[in-house]
Symmetry: C2
Subunit: 181 residues, 2 copies
């Protein structure tokens, strides 16, 4: 998920040069030698939910790369002009076709290596029937003892699930702040 370097200016189509801009900046940016546009590149947010139904959690089997066929919590890239919670709800609807009520913020997971921040919310399912979208092969409920830990697509999902079940045992849900190396 490392993004390739920018080659051409988005404003005028000229080839850009990576250099430190002359405005006091300290980092190399893609700068246009023709129109001087500076192209900033920044981390992306991934927003999703931990959807639960009684003792069970909803996971989605991925129908897209990367990690085709592996299991994940419903989550995806945050879009313009939505809140983190709205994005998390949208992804849960798109990927699982679930019916749910959004509850509180649950985890913030930094994945600095790939410049991503993952944000998960608790979502209480109001039905155990799902209508997975095109990105999902299957949406299924799992007891903790049934979770296919070796078939989980991403560490962000695994770390969030582990904390969900740990909190569930104590009966108190905290907000978790996690860094993945």
């Amino acid at each position: 998920m490392q993004r390739p370097p920018i080659k051409f200016c988005r404003e005028c189509g000229t080839s850009v040069v990576y250099r430190i801009p002359d405005d006091g900046d300290t980092k190399e940016r893609a700068v246009c030698p023709a129109c001087n546009t500076i192209h900033y590149e920044n981390p992306l947010n991934v927003v999703g939910t931990v959807p639960f139904w009684g003792d069970k959690v909803l996971l989605c089997k991925r129908n897209i790369e990367p990690r085709w066929g592996k299991w994940t919590l419903p989550a995806g890239f945050m879009e313009l002009n939505e809140t983190t919670l709205e994005g998390a709800a949208r992804e849960t609807l798109e990927e699982a076709g679930a019916q749910f009520e959004m509850l509180g913020f649950f985890s913030l997971v930094n994945v600095a290596r790939v410049s991503q921040v993952h944000l998960f919310y608790l979502a209480q399912l109001t039905s155990d029937q799902f209508a997975p979208g095109v990105e999902t092969i299957e949406a299924r409920l799992f007891l903790e003892s049934e979770i296919p830990w070796d078939e989980i697509a991403f560490r962000t999902t695994k770390e969030t699930l582990e904390r969900y079940f740990a909190d569930r045992r104590t009966g108190r849900f905290n907000i978790h702040h996690i860094d993945i190396a």
Copy 2:
């Protein structure tokens, strides 16, 4: 802070067209008619701190637009390959030249209208001497009663400061989840 539309392809320099891609997507993206690159545009994270010294909070008087001359908590755009906490610490050092110890996560503020998510951490100052950077006219400590509420640069700062002082009165710091319309 609304970003202008993308005009040219970052991969090949051809003029792009905004349309819904043919891959099942539901949103218009800048698509290159020559090389088919899809240019996704996503929200930006702003990361910063609430730096405190006893009863006082550190604010920075902005030496840059927007809101030149107004007061703000140290904060700025998150960079590639850093965590939210690392970015918040970096901005506090760059803008205030403060010495501090990073403490916990404090607030997540959605500003969907401009596609931003602001994330603030508590930072305990270890000195009351500051060395503001080029983006700051002055860095100064304020008691709650001294805060220039009408001269605060951004609502994200104002809402975070209000919650900081409210929590301080109760002696218990919570994590705050805020949406700004």
